[in-house]
């Protein structure tokens, strides 16, 4: 028996459980409730209300990615640097939340932000007016950054750590002081890590539904929870599938964009 036959069961499984379900999505997206072919579902997706939802999702995801990049890059850089790389436990601590259940992490932010949550309770205690924190756009953004920050730190850290010490010395040898070494050598060489981090944050941000549902109290609608709504509450599989196609298109587009920016394709680290 050839070894290559072992790939058979795996291939079969992947086709059955990945390709076939997608065919269902395509089918429902392009048919109406009677089974007739139609573009109406997709057209509905381009209506004003839903365009707003799409735009809101993209915008929030971009903001979240930007914040994670601004906060996460220095974090990763410092931890990979000479002063702190010995303290591996610090790095593990930053990554630990990643391994905690994602809902419980969102739960933790809810605890802080609820109307009767920790922040408001403390404000009351201090005699100040409680603020509306949960159910706002800011709450959703906060929740996303809180959840996804470690995902930005990890690939950047890997990228910075992998850097050849000798290349840094070469730059110094050629006359670059520490500031120039950073901007002309270290930063460009860490770009693969940045790209990896951006995709690991942007993708889940733009497709999340639990965070927007829980921290937005059902009032901040994003693409993810709109889709969930279509399927579980409104029982409109057709429109839900159409929106799913839109979401997949969005993801493919962003992946394509990131791929083009990626300078060193061979440097793309598989962070598993």
């Amino acid at each position: 028996m050839k070894r290559s036959f072992f790939s058979g069961p795996y291939a079969l499984w992947m086709v059955l459980f990945t390709i076939f379900p997608l065919i269902f999505v395509a089918f429902y997206a392009l048919t109406d409730k009677n089974g007739a072919f139609t573009f109406a579902n997709l057209a509905q997706g381009f209506e004003n209300d839903y365009m707003k939802v799409l735009w809101r999702s993209i915008r929030l995801a971009l903001e979240c990615t930007a914040i994670c990049l601004l906060l996460g890059y220095p974090c990763a850089y410092i931890l990979a640097g000479k002063d702190f790389s010995r303290h591996k436990s610090l790095f593990v601590l930053i990554l630990l939340p990643m391994w905690m259940n994602f809902l419980l992490r969102t739960y933790a932010t809810m605890t802080l932000l609820e109307d009767t949550g920790v922040i408001n309770s403390l404000l009351e205690k201090l005699g100040m007016q409680p603020k509306k924190l949960i159910g706002t756009r800011g709450a959703v953004l906060f929740g996303m950054v809180y959840n996804y920050l470690p995902f930005m730190v990890l690939p950047i850290h890997t990228s910075v750590k992998k850097m050849d010490e000798r290349v840094i010395e070469a730059a110094q040898d050629l006359g670059a002081n520490p500031v120039r070494v950073f901007f002309r050598v270290k930063l460009p060489l860490s770009v693969p890590g940045i790209i990896s981090g951006i995709s690991m944050v942007f993708m889940p941000s733009v497709t999340t539904f639990a965070i927007s549902r829980l921290l937005g109290s059902g009032m901040i609608h994003m693409l993810g929870d709109t889709i969930e709504n279509q399927f579980m509450t409104l029982n409109n599989w057709q429109f839900g599938s159409a929106l799913s196609l839109v979401m997949m298109a969005l993801i493919l587009l962003s992946m394509g964009l990131l791929n083009r920016i990626d300078i060193n394709k061979s440097e793309r680290t598989n962070n598993w």
């Binding site: 499984w13 379900p21 269902f24 598993w272």
Partner: protein, 264 residues
């Protein structure tokens, strides 16, 4: 001057850690709070932990989570490892196609994976044979997204392996099956373990896909979601604390065994 910068760097890291851990820390503290207040310490109590045990819904969900995670991990390790061995031995065209296919569950948003599987399962149940959504379908779904992680953990190890290893085994008298079990598998064991741990983590943590493919069966994440929609309650703090301590302990244990190097 150097020490000033080091201090600055350290403060920044401390701030980030503060940001990441204060919500968790607060939850842990409140889990021991006698009362329900968020700002007032009303005395030390373990009553919320006790109430967890009475919460049958939660306990059932915990059971579901563990069974699904372990079952799916087991199945995906077998499927994925054999798949990797098969792909490694295939011609380039076929293997690249299969590898690209394997990227699909990882790059597709989990919502789309979830709803697509749900639609297919409902269709099958309605028109083909009775298979209502439940624990079994949940396991099937988990296997689907777990296996690629196993594949991508094992494949690099296969590629690092000397290409003549399998042939050397045959040359020395092994049957093909023996060569695989006695020679190839021990060499790729680190990859298999990494893949298994990854799959386990993904399954234990999963929410979206379980939400759509579980039907009336709920895993832990789904129960937390349903409860959270109604607001935050103190027994959830106890649950969170337990989970946090579990993960922390696991990571410490793993760290001691230096397997962490290969994962992070």
């Amino acid at each position: 001057m150097k020490r000033f910068f080091k201090g600055l760097k350290g403060s920044y890291i401390a701030l980030v850690l503060l940001f990441l851990y204060s919500p968790i820390a607060i939850m842990i503290i409140l889990s021991f709070n006698e009362g329900k207040s968020r700002a007032n310490w009303q005395g030390f109590s373990l009553k919320w932990y006790a109430s967890l045990l009475d919460n049958s819904k939660l306990m059932d969900a915990l059971e579901v989570t563990l069974i699904v995670a372990f079952a799916a991990t087991l199945a995906s390790v077998v499927l994925g490892t054999l798949g990797a061995i098969g792909i490694h031995a295939c011609k380039k065209k076929y293997s690249t196609a299969l590898i690209n296919l394997s990227y699909l569950p990882m790059t597709m948003p989990d919502i789309v994976t979830g709803v697509s599987l749900m639609m297919m399962m409902v269709f099958i149940n309605k028109y083909l044979f009775t298979l209502p959504r439940g624990m079994f379908t949940m396991i099937l779904a988990h296997i689907t997204f777990d296996t690629p992680y196993v594949l991508f953990s094992v494949l690099p190890k296969l590629r690092q392996m000397d290409p003549n290893t399998y042939e050397a085994a045959l040359d020395l008298g092994c049957t093909p099956m023996e060569a695989i079990t006695d020679v190839i598998i021990p060499e790729i064991k680190p990859g298999i373990i990494t893949g298994a741990l990854l799959a386990l983590t993904m399954s234990l943590d999963d929410f979206v896909i379980s939400y759509f493919t579980g039907g009336y069966v709920q895993n832990l994440s789904v129960v937390v979601y349903s409860a959270a929609k109604l607001g935050v309650t103190p027994d959830m703090y106890a649950m969170s604390t337990i989970m946090f301590v579990t993960v922390l302990t696991l990571l410490i244990v793993v760290n001691k065994r230096s397997t962490l190097e290969s994962i992070s």
